[in-house]
Symmetry: D2
């Protein structure tokens, strides 16, 4: 059993990570208390890797300390996801205090960056909305198939656990139950992370977040115009080549996904449709925001970074 630390176990992602680690079988989780000096904790408990399930302000301090003490780091916050510290400063409203780490930080969407994750010291675990959107659009984007001048539309809907466990007016049962709303229209702070990963530009990308009256789950509905007509078979073949059978991203032949099927799992299910002309694709992707969108993906990254089987401890 190899020792891995978890900083930030009170939040939903931290709790979920502890639940998953308890069933992993190869990694022994060590809770790192907020007050602890990180370096000391790493050395005392011989931590090979530290998960940061913390706000980005905390991660900006904890990650360098952990790396310096010799641990690898999987950071679940947005601290190390954006390559350009100026973009970070703009969207997060604070200067980046560890820009020297950005070049080596690997964006931990395993299905895109598996090899880089294997060799990484520092992995920036993707946000939950970005995971659902990037998994859905990556094949089309990397095939250069999208006519970006028509705009790429991402309409995403998330359960309440994505808003964190701190009580607030916006997460009060009475405000959320039997309700639904859009928020952060065109200005969600996860947008730059999505366009960076997809190689798109901000001006062509339109993202709206919505709050679902459920606990867990994200479903994103995405609309893209294609440069040329595609057949359904071509489209399925493209997605299946990038997401082969046996992985956590599953391309569905039939039937739209629903969030409940995926709750508690690390799967991302993707449904694809074309219009009659074959030049418009509608892609629906679905994940559990706390698993594939946070803790499960973090564990998936750990599996690669420490040499475990890729899907160990994950269903």
């Amino acid at each position: 059993m190899r020792s891995v630390g978890v900083l930030g176990v009170s939040g939903y992602s931290g709790q979920e990570l502890m639940r998953l680690l308890a069933g992993h079988g190869g990694a022994r989780p060590v809770v790192v208390e907020k007050e602890t000096a990180i370096g000391e904790a790493v050395r005392r408990d011989a931590l090979e890797l530290l998960f940061l399930a913390t706000p980005h302000e905390v991660s900006l301090e904890a990650a360098p300390a952990a790396l310096k003490a010799g641990a690898k780091v999987v950071d679940l916050s947005g601290a190390f996801r954006l390559k350009d510290p100026a973009v970070f400063a703009h969207w997060y409203g604070m200067p980046h205090t560890a820009p020297e780490l950005l070049p080596e930080a690997v964006y931990g969407l395993t299905e895109l960056n598996g090899e880089a994750v294997r060799g990484a010291r520092l992995v920036a675990n993707p946000g939950c909305y970005p995971t659902s959107v990037i998994c859905g659009l990556h094949p089309l984007a990397c095939a250069g198939a999208i006519d970006t001048s028509a705009g790429v539309i991402c309409d995403s809907k998330s359960g309440v656990s994505g808003a964190g466990h701190r009580p607030s007016p916006g997460t009060h049962f009475v405000e959320v139950h039997e309700n639904f709303k859009a928020y952060a229209v065109l200005r969600h702070k996860h947008v730059p992370e999505m366009v960076q990963a997809l190689g798109l530009s901000l001006g062509d990308f339109f993202f709206t977040a919505h709050l679902l009256p459920i606990t867990r789950g994200i479903l994103s509905t995405m609309y893209a115009k294609l440069r040329r007509p595609w057949t359904r078979e071509e489209l399925l073949a493209l997605y299946r080549r990038l997401y082969p059978d046996g992985g956590f991203i599953r391309v569905r032949e039939n039937g739209t996904p629903n969030v409940r099927e995926l709750q508690g799992t690390n799967y991302c299910d993707i449904y694809l449709t074309l219009d009659e002309s074959g030049t418009r694709a509608v892609i629906v992707s679905c994940i559990d925001n706390l698993v594939k969108g946070a803790a499960g993906q973090a564990l998936q990254n750990m599996n690669l970074m420490l040499g475990f089987t890729p899907n160990q401890g994950l269903v």
Copy 2:
């Protein structure tokens, strides 16, 4: 008190209509039983108007009979919404059996067709999804502002009452609760109604329906590319000119709408945003699917057809 009939009081729309008529003050609702000969009921109870809260198959027979007996008709089904009987046949899977009535049938979205509704014998009450989408896009569409070649995207989410009160696997509590899904992607049968009312073509219009785990409410998020850059002030001015203060469509200056604020009301609230370039509009519209999306709009049509105050009996 003037007598109006209601056929189909067991469904959610019919129940809601009875609730609203009970508070109207000027119209006395008469329940017309399913087995009754419509013409006889119209004459016996001196019905000036008959609401059809019935499936389209039933409306296709009941509407001609009621009109022949001298009553006006507000039909809540899809039977008389589409002008072209061939389009009806394609999307509803059956031939239209009263095509002679289609030329005079008025599409009862009062805010668009108020004058025609006033003089109509037969009003086709809009569907719930179409109401939310058409209200949201009509100003841009009728101003010719949309670059349709980029595609118009309508991502709509509806509560379960929209699926009707007949028990089915898809409306079982256990299937819907803590769940969310897309359905009828690119092939919802209300699509032709939307494009007809907006003057768009099917090939440029992309609609996805989703099932929310709530009882009442529709929220539609719409994305359109504009032919030229607009300012926020221009956009607000356009919408306010078509939807003046005091009506049931309200243009919100600030804050996205949420479905709960509108539950039980006949309002449609609209939120508008532009991207930085001013060439991309995101419009969020929100209604109670059983009121503005069905029974309330039917009452609104009755008010015009029988000469009541436009908002009598509606909040």
Copy 3:
């Protein structure tokens, strides 16, 4: 229009009171800000009556000030419900700072104390759990029909709005949704209010509160052993004598009540059953906790205190 003040409009009860007053027609609501000197507000706005939708600590100070300035008071808190200041001190954990007002304070359950409410300067509006329990048991209790040695059991379930609108871990959507729990077993602070109103002793009375994953509604299931066998007809006759037709407490002949039928209304519906021996009664009572359990009942009290029709502004 007569002027009435409302102190505490940010909470759910205060908001509901404002909603009801808006439709009352005879009373003009004036919002009294937290910082205002009460006496000054009463005189400046010529308030005939002041509603206190405030915590009991605030009510203990505001009620004497309002009375001194010449306004009547309806207090929605627990400050003036208990006759014995020592009992108050024990259950509320603080000394009673206005004990001189307790003798004149009338417990505002109109159906029990209508005459006293009419002449009262100070009305203590009942708690939500107590309203549902007292309405359910009062006829049996005042008829002396209960064999109290067997214990009176009150098993109550409340929606989340009863816990107030302040965000807390216990009202977070994620904690409440798809969940259910008992709390405050045998030690809820509304228990002394119930036994006082019913003339029972604490030792014979067993109350459990539960948190329902709904916004509004209380359903209480009560079990009592009777001193002699009763027939169903006798039992119905007893309840109907005390709760005559046309009032807000309705005795149901058939069918158990459910909370949704009563949401938004001031009704309390009561269902009665006897076992085969006729010596065991099971009583189910149901209210909207924010209306009959708070703001609606407060308005009902105002109607009597100011000489309006008893049900004005209430449905």
Copy 4:
């Protein structure tokens, strides 16, 4: 791997059983189709044991056939729970067609009847409400501690999956969501099963069922008068003796249980309180109705009947 059959995999209990068997490791589940001749299926697939996740009418026919063919049977219906066929006929509204099997049928509440289950050919798996109630009251009942003349009160609340997966008006999302009701007051057909297992008489036992707007979980609140004063320590000791550490029934020292903690698990959590006199106990018990209340308990019985570890495949 040993072969076990499952008849009735379309219902919620059958689905849950398949889910649990998939993770058991020692038993290979074989789906037995409705149309199959049971005896043939048992022989062809060498089934050692057959689970009947079927209505009682079906179980009455399938159980004798399976036994005759040499398989053991765990029946999840009410067909073999009541010892007296006349009581069965009264509560189930049909004659018992296999009364010869009743003497050997073992009531499969493992924590009460473990030894008998081990040797049984036919186990009647307890109902979900009865499981929660019997686990909660059994220690007091078998200690003879209850003063039954005061009546034993069981106030139970269940999630919707307990009503089965067949769509009906009562399970429609719109009817259940934001709602709560009591039903079958004093006449639920699981009552005789509870009094039989607890050794109580029908006349002293008062059970009310309620429908919670959640998918999974039962919470029962029970009230009993005791023959003599007990201390909290005595009470805890009694329950812990019968439910030792390491089993699926857990006696909680502190804090009331909630249904969500137990969802997906086979645990029954029990919370105990006494009033000040020590003569009144309030017991709260909590289970997942589909696991400990159905499929999990069925697997627990199988583990004993086939010689597996008692908790194999269960969490």
